[in-house]
């Protein structure tokens, strides 16, 4: 197996892009990444996307985006794994290059969620769950996470307000990221008063519906010029799954898919949680932040709820998370999110993040993209190949 590296990154700001279609968003991010990598040709394109068929009436994104980005003729395919579609596409790109079948591939994550009103988008997002036995009885995607959070609060005797520090942190970091959807901090008081969507989850626990696209270019590490100090090595990119329906999981509060994926990633990278310089985690809901920190091996979920209060996860802290705003602050264009995370991790490793949110001399950046309520999980560890 070849070692692989990310040599180019590109993104469009996460917004409600009323004026741009799915192909425009994807092509723009892809062209930005190609320019950043200083390449104009690729031999494979992997598109991460969840809902183009449902919300844009458009499938066959591989060929469409290749076409629109001036790359017609290239092998191109869409990869879908609910909210983990972006990282799932990234993994396919990594596998292709690591296996020696491809020399230079592009991965684009793209999602357009604002074509319809919220309730229709909510129906579409609920397709990440078990359609016959969860969604059809009235459960939404927020509702699934609410079931987990309610039980967690019951078993651990924690109150709702304890979760508020995670969205606060995400917004604070996001306020310095020009590509973030929300660029304003929020207060604990606002969190306390936020409208309840699915009790106990309120609006400020939830990442926003948004449009976005992000892209990366992957090549074999051996092909990189030694002078290229902007490349990041992919030390690990590993996937795990769990029972799709919450009711089928032996332990509701253990994210088994996260555990499998993170363990495999740490083993592949030959690293431990304490080695990680920053962690772009999947904070789609505050409860997922706490549970994924636990299942990834960093600390127990209750400890995470305590440590967030004393700065542990801040930019200057021991384990910075959601450094560019995370899903909560940057926004969660579902199939694009996993690729945004990689783009942000590479930005941090290069030292090119906005000053206030630049982690100091990061060596290893970890990203984790979760599909459904933990049914597909992809954990990636990237390394700075020219640390200062």
């Amino acid at each position: 197996m070849k070692k692989v590296a990310v040599i180019g990154i590109g993104q469009v700001p996460v917004r409600e892009h009323w004026d741009k279609s799915i192909r425009q968003l994807a092509a723009e991010a892809l062209l930005n990444a190609l320019q950043d990598a200083n390449r104009d040709e690729i031999d494979g394109l992997y598109v991460g996307n969840m809902l183009s068929g449902t919300l844009s009436g458009q499938e066959h994104l591989g060929a469409l985006i290749a076409d629109y980005a001036g790359l017609s003729g290239v092998e191109a395919v869409k990869v879908e794994a609910a909210c983990a579609s972006g990282a799932a596409a990234f993994r396919q790109g990594v596998v292709a290059v690591a296996g020696g079948l491809k020399k230079c591939v592009a991965v684009v994550g793209v999602e357009k969620l604002t074509e319809f009103s919220g309730r229709y988008t909510a129906s579409a997002l609920a397709t990440a769950a078990d359609s016959d036995f969860e969604a059809s009885v009235g459960l939404t995607f927020v509702g699934l996470n609410a079931l987990v959070m309610q039980r967690f609060m019951f078993e651990n005797n924690v109150s709702k307000i304890d979760f508020g520090n995670f969205p606060l942190l995400a917004h604070r970091n996001g306020s310095h990221n020009p590509n973030a959807m929300f660029r304003r901090p929020i207060t604990l008081e606002q969190y306390r008063k936020a409208k309840v969507i699915a009790d106990p989850i309120n609006l400020l626990d939830s990442s926003p519906i948004a449009d976005g696209a992000a892209a990366v270019i992957i090549v074999p590490l051996e092909d990189i010029e030694t002078s290229d100090k902007r490349a990041a090595e992919v030390l690990a990119c590993e996937a795990g799954t769990d029972y799709i329906a919450l009711h089928d999981r032996p332990e509701l509060l253990k994210l088994k898919g996260v555990e499998i994926s993170a363990k495999k990633a740490f083993r592949a990278a030959n690293l431990q949680p304490k080695d990680i310089s920053l962690f772009e985690l999947h904070d789609a809901f505050s409860i997922m932040t706490a549970l994924s920190l636990e299942a990834s091996g960093f600390m127990s979920a209750t400890e995470a709820l305590n440590r967030v209060k004393d700065g542990y996860f801040e930019i200057q802290g021991k384990l910075p998370v959601a450094t560019m705003g995370g899903l909560k602050g940057r926004g969660h264009p579902v199939g694009a999110t996993g690729v945004y995370q990689i783009v942000e991790a590479v930005t941090q490793l290069r030292g090119e993040a906005p000053e206030k949110i630049q982690v100091k001399n990061p060596l290893y950046a970890m990203t984790q993209n979760i599909g459904g309520t933990g049914a597909t999980v992809i954990t990636t560890i990237l390394k700075n190949i020219s640390p200062s």
Partner: protein, 141 residues
């Protein structure tokens, strides 16, 4: 509208039909092609009795298109007395009254209507089970 799906799900929606692994005893709802625990294919269909307790719940205030007219409503994870955990709506219940550990029982209720000309979809929901003591308590003074 997906008529074949509603027909296909009739034994689950109206009878809580699942399966029990004849090798290790693992229970599934709905039935599966093989036991997720021991991989045995020797599974027997069973109908669970519809009694259970609430393991977790959420009250939904925003929902998908189908259920839009029904908010707020409660969806719960329910541990069946003689079966596995399932997801279902609670019905005939005061929102403030819902608690983890609450005993519930299955009833058939309307789920949603598929548009003005489509079918009305029915299936299992769960309602609180009141003890005799609850029922004989004097009304609120």
């Amino acid at each position: 509208m997906d008529i074949p799906r509603y027909w296909r799900l009739k034994n689950q929606r109206y009878h809580l039909e699942g399966s029990v692994c004849q090798n290790c005893g693992h229970q599934s709802f709905p039935s599966r092609p093989l036991c997720p625990q021991c991989k045995s294919k020797d599974l027997k269909s069973v109908r669970f009795n519809g009694k259970g307790i609430v393991y977790s719940y959420t009250i939904l205030y925003q929902t998908s298109e189908r259920y839009e007219g029904y908010v707020p409503y409660v969806v719960a994870l329910i541990d069946l007395e003689d079966g596995p955990r399932i997801t279902a709506q609670l019905t005939d219940v005061d929102l403030n009254q819902v608690k983890i550990g609450m005993p519930v029982e299955m009833v058939i209720r309307k789920y949603f209507e598929e548009g003005e000309t489509g079918p009305i979809v029915y299936g299992y929901k769960f309602r609180p089970v009141f003890s005799k003591q609850d029922l004989t308590e004097p009304p609120i003074k």
